[in-house]
C-alpha cells in the first residue's frame, strides 16, 4: 500500500474535513520534493522564487527537531499548541514526543501543495492517527480550524498555549503567517470576552436549555438542512442596520429566488411590511422581547442555539433547527441518532447567519442592513438610537470611501468577516448590498436591486423543502427524551445531599479556624475530600449545567485564590469560604433546576 493510500484512508476515517482535497485530482507540485539526509531520514525540499529551501537538516533531521523543540515549555496542563506548517511531519513528531497526554496540537498548513506532497511522499500515519493532533489546511478546512480553536482554548487554558512556526515557513508564507497570528490573537480576545459572557449569561443559558427539553419533539438539527438548498441559490442575510430602511422593499422581489435569513433584530421591520423571511436566526439570550412580539414571528422556521432567549423555542410554532449547542443538548441529539453542527457564531447573530450560509454550501452570500456603523446617531433600522457606552470613537472606511463612525463590537464583527472572507474558496462570492455603512474588505459592493437582477433568477421554494424534513424525534423516541429528563431530575436529588454535606464540612472547618483550633492535616484531608467530590460531579449528565450556573462565582473566586496570602491558615480560610459559597449557590441552583426538570417531565408525559 502506498503512503498516499494509507494516509488518505486515515484522513477519511478521522473526519478531519480534508476530503475536499481528494475530490479533484490536484497535480503534485514538482517544486516540492523529497530527498534523503546523511543519516537516511527523508527530508523535504521546496523550490521557491529561485531559492532552494531544505526544510530539514541534511545531516540529522531528528536531532535538529529536538534542538528546535527544546525552546518550548510543555509542562503546563491542558496545553494547546498551534503549529504553522506541517512540512514533512518531522517537527510535528518532536512536539508529540514532548506534549502531555491532555494537550492538543493544531497544525495549520498554509499550502495545499505541501500537504498533498507530504501525504504522497511520507508515511504520516503515526501523526494522522493521534487523537489529539489535528491538521487543517488553509482554504480547505478553515471552519474546522475555527472549531478547534473554540473547542480547545477556554479561559482556563488560554495562557497555556504555544504558538510556533515550522522553520522557513515565515519566509515562504509571510501573508498566511500574518493571518495565522492575527486569528490566534483574536481568539485570545474572543475567549476572554466569551468568558465574561458565560459568566454573565450562564444561569440564563441553563434555564433556556432545560426549558427547551419539552420542545425537543418539534426540534431538528441544522444538519437536516445541509443539502436542501442548491449552492447557486443566493443566501441573503438581513441585519438590522440603519440602511435596511433604504432597500427593505427590494427584498420582496428576492423572495422565492433566494434564501432570506433574517436576524432576530431585523424581524420586526420585515414583518411590519409583511415580508416573510425563510429563516429567523437568533442566538442571544438577552434579545429584546420586541424582536419576537409579532405573532407571525413564531410561524417562520427558526435557527437558534438551545440557549437562545428563554421561551423563544417553547413558544415557537414552526420548525426549529439547532446549531452550536452545549454538550448537554448535543448529547441528547446523539441519543436520538443525530448531531448538532458547530457553527462559528462570531459573537453576533449576523455573523452566525453568515456561517450558516457557508455551512449550507451557498456560493453567493449577500448582506443587507449590515452597516456595522452609525448613520448619524442612528444605530438600527427604524431610526433606533441604541445607547451604548462608547469607550472611544472609532472611524473606519465606508463603502463609498468616506469615513464612518463605528463601535468596538461592530468593528470586531467587521474584522471577523474579513478574516473569514480571505479564506473562502474562489467560487464563493460575498456581496455587500447594504448600501451604506462600513466597508467590509473582500466583499463586492452592489445595490440590492442589481443583486436581485443578477443573482436571483431561479425560483426556489425553501418552505416546501423544509416541510419534507422529518422531525428528529419520532413518537417511538419520546421515551429517550423522558429518560434524559428523568436522569437530570434524579441527579438533582443526589446533588442536594452532596451540596449539603460539603456545606456542613466547610462551615465546621471555618468555625474551627475562627476558634483557632488549627489542624492542618485535617484541613488538607477535608480539602481533598471536596476536590474528590468536585471530580465526581464531572461525571454527572447535568455537570455542564451546574458548571455554567456557578461559573460566575468560580471565575470571581479563581481571581481571589490567585492573590497572595500571608499564611497557611488564611489560605485554608479562603479555600473553605469559596467552596461554601459555591456549594451554597449550587443548592439554590439545583432546587431551581429540579423544579424545571419536573415541569419538563410533566409536559412530556402529557405529550405521550
Amino acid at each position: 500500500m502506498s503512503y498516499f493510500t494509507k494516509n488518505k484512508e486515515i484522513i477519511q476515517n478521522r473526519n478531519i474535513k480534508l476530503d475536499a482535497l481528494f475530490d479533484d485530482e490536484i497535480p503534485l507540485d514538482d517544486k516540492i520534493y523529497s530527498a534523503v539526509a546523511k543519516d537516511g531520514t527523508p527530508i523535504m525540499i521546496i523550490e521557491h522564487n529561485n531559492s532552494i529551501y531544505r526544510m530539514n537538516s541534511l545531516y540529522n533531521p531528528i536531532q535538529e527537531t529536538k534542538f528546535w523543540v527544546s525552546q518550548y515549555d510543555f509542562s503546563k496542563e491542558n496545553m494547546v499548541i498551534s503549529l504553522f506548517g506541517l512540512g514533512n511531519g518531522q517537527f510535528v513528531r518532536s512536539i508529540i514526543d514532548e506534549m502531555k497526554e491532555d494537550a492538543h496540537l493544531i497544525i495549520v498548513e498554509p499550502s495545499k501543495e505541501i500537504f498533498l506532497s507530504a501525504i504522497h511522499e511520507y508515511d504520516m500515519s503515526d501523526i494522522l492517527l493521534r487523537k489529539n493532533v489535528f491538521i487543517t489546511v488553509m482554504g480547505v478546512n478553515d471552519e474546522f480550524w475555527s472549531y478547534l480553536l473554540n473547542a480547545t482554548i477556554k479561559w482556563e487554558n488560554v495562557y497555556n498555549q504555544i504558538v510556533c512556526t515550522h522553520p522557513y515557513y515565515s519566509r515562504l508564507f509571510q501573508n498566511e503567517l500574518r493571518i495565522f497570528n492575527e486569528r490566534i490573537s483574536r481568539n485570545y480576545e474572543s475567549v476572554s470576552i466569551d468568558r465574561n459572557t458565560e459568566a454573565h449569561f450562564g444561569p440564563k443559558y441553563v434555564k433556556a436549555m432545560i426549558d427547551c427539553l419539552h420542545s425537543y419533539p418539534k426540534i431538528n438539527s441544522m444538519i437536516d438542512c445541509k443539502n436542501i438548498v442548491p449552492s447557486d441559490i443566493p443566501g441573503i442575510i438581513i441585519a438590522a442596520g440603519p440602511s435596511l430602511d433604504k432597500n427593505i422593499e427590494e427584498l420582496r422581489s428576492a423572495k422565492g429566488k433566494a434564501v432570506l435569513f433574517a436576524t432576530d433584530r431585523a424581524l420586526p421591520a420585515l414583518l411590519e411590511r409583511c415580508i416573510i423571511p425563510d429563516f429567523v436566526v437568533t442566538v442571544d439570550p438577552d434579545k429584546p422581547d420586541a424582536c419576537f412580539a409579532d405573532e407571525k414571528s413564531r410561524t417562520i422556521p427558526l435557527i437558534c442555539t438551545a440557549h437562545s432567549k428563554l421561551g423563544v423555542i417553547s413558544n415557537h410554532e414552526s420548525r426549529i433547527f439547532l446549531i452550536s449547542c452545549y454538550d448537554y443538548i448535543n448529547n441528547l441529539a446523539n441519543k436520538l441518532g443525530s448531531s448538532i453542527p458547530y457553527i462559528d457564531t462570531g459573537a453576533s447573530v449576523a455573523t452566525t447567519a453568515f456561517s450558516i450560509c457557508l455551512y449550507l454550501g451557498l456560493k453567493n452570500i449577500i448582506f443587507v442592513g449590515q452597516d456595522l456603523a452609525f448613520k448619524g446617531s442612528v444605530t438600527h433600522a427604524g431610526g433606533e438610537e441604541e445607547k451604548v457606552y462608547l469607550d472611544d470613537e472609532i472611524y473606519v472606511e465606508g463603502i463609498d470611501g468616506k469615513i464612518v463612525k463605528t463601535r468596538f463590537d461592530w468593528e470586531r464583527f467587521r474584522l471577523w468577516y474579513e478574516d473569514r472572507i480571505k479564506y473562502l474558496p474562489e467560487d464563493v462570492k460575498v456581496i455587500d448590498a447594504t448600501e451604506g455603512g462600513a466597508l467590509i474588505h473582500g466583499t463586492k459592493v452592489m445595490t440590492l436591486h442589481d443583486v436581485v437582477e443578477r443573482y436571483c433568477n431561479q425560483q426556489f421554494d425553501v418552505a416546501k423543502e423544509i416541510e419534507n424534513i422529518p422531525y428528529l424525534c419520532t413518537n417511538e423516541k419520546l421515551s429517550i427524551i423522558k429518560d434524559y429528563v428523568s436522569c437530570g431530575l434524579n441527579e438533582c436529588n443526589s446533588l442536594v445531599e452532596i451540596a449539603r454535606n460539603i456545606n456542613n464540612l466547610c462551615k465546621s472547618t471555618l468555625t474551627k479556624i475562627k476558634r483557632k483550633q488549627i489542624n492542618f492535616k485535617k484541613f488538607e484531608t477535608d480539602h481533598k475530600k471536596i476536590k474528590k467530590t468536585n471530580e465526581s460531579l464531572q461525571k454527572l449528565t447535568i455537570f455542564q449545567l451546574i458548571d455554567l450556573s456557578v461559573f460566575k462565582t468560580t471565575v470571581e473566586k479563581h481571581k481571589e485564590v490567585n492573590t497572595k496570602l500571608k499564611n497557611e491558615v488564611d489560605v485554608y480560610h479562603q479555600i473553605f469560604t469559596i467552596y461554601q459559597e459555591i456549594y451554597d449557590q449550587m443548592l439554590q441552583l439545583v432546587s431551581d433546576m429540579k423544579e424545571n426538570f419536573e415541569k419538563q417531565l410533566d409536559i412530556l408525559n402529557k405529550l405521550s
Binding site: 541534511l58 534542538f67 528546535w68 527544546s70 522553520p167 522557513y168
Partner: protein
C-alpha cells in the same frame, strides 16, 4: 598548549550554542553570534598555524577547516539557516573536537 586546548573547547561550545539558536530559527541572534565567532575561529586557525610551524606533528587540516568555514559564510550570505547550523554542528565542531582529542592524547 593548554591555552590552545581551552580555546578549542570554548569555540566548540560556542559553535554548538550558535547551531542550536539557528535550528530554533532565532536567526538574528544566531547570525550575529556567528559573525563574532568567525573572528575567534580565524584567530584560532592562525594560532594553529604557528603551533604547526613549530611542530609538524599537529594533526589538523586547516585547509579543510577553512573550506568548511567558507561554506558556512556562504550559507550565512544565502540566509540558509539550517545549512549554516548543519555546517557548524556537524562539520566545524567535530573537526575542532578531533583536534582537541588529539592534543589530549599527545600532550
Amino acid at each position: 598548549m593548554e591555552e590552545l586546548k581551552k580555546s578549542i573547547t570554548d569555540i566548540a561550545k560556542k559553535l554548538k550554542a550558535v547551531a542550536i539558536k539557528l535550528y530554533q530559527m532565532k536567526e538574528s541572534e544566531g547570525y550575529s553570534d556567528f559573525a563574532e565567532l568567525i573572528g575567534e575561529m580565524s584567530q584560532l586557525v592562525s594560532t594553529i598555524y604557528v603551533v604547526k610551524s613549530q611542530s609538524n606533528e599537529l594533526m589538523f587540516h586547516e585547509t579543510e577547516f577553512l573550506q568548511k568555514l567558507t561554506l558556512a559564510v556562504k550559507a550565512l550570505e544565502d540566509r540558509d539557516t539550517i545549512m549554516l547550523a548543519d555546517i557548524l554542528y556537524y562539520e566545524l565542531k567535530p573537526q575542532l573536537l578531533d583536534l582537541r582529542n588529539y592534543l589530549e592524547m599527545t600532550n
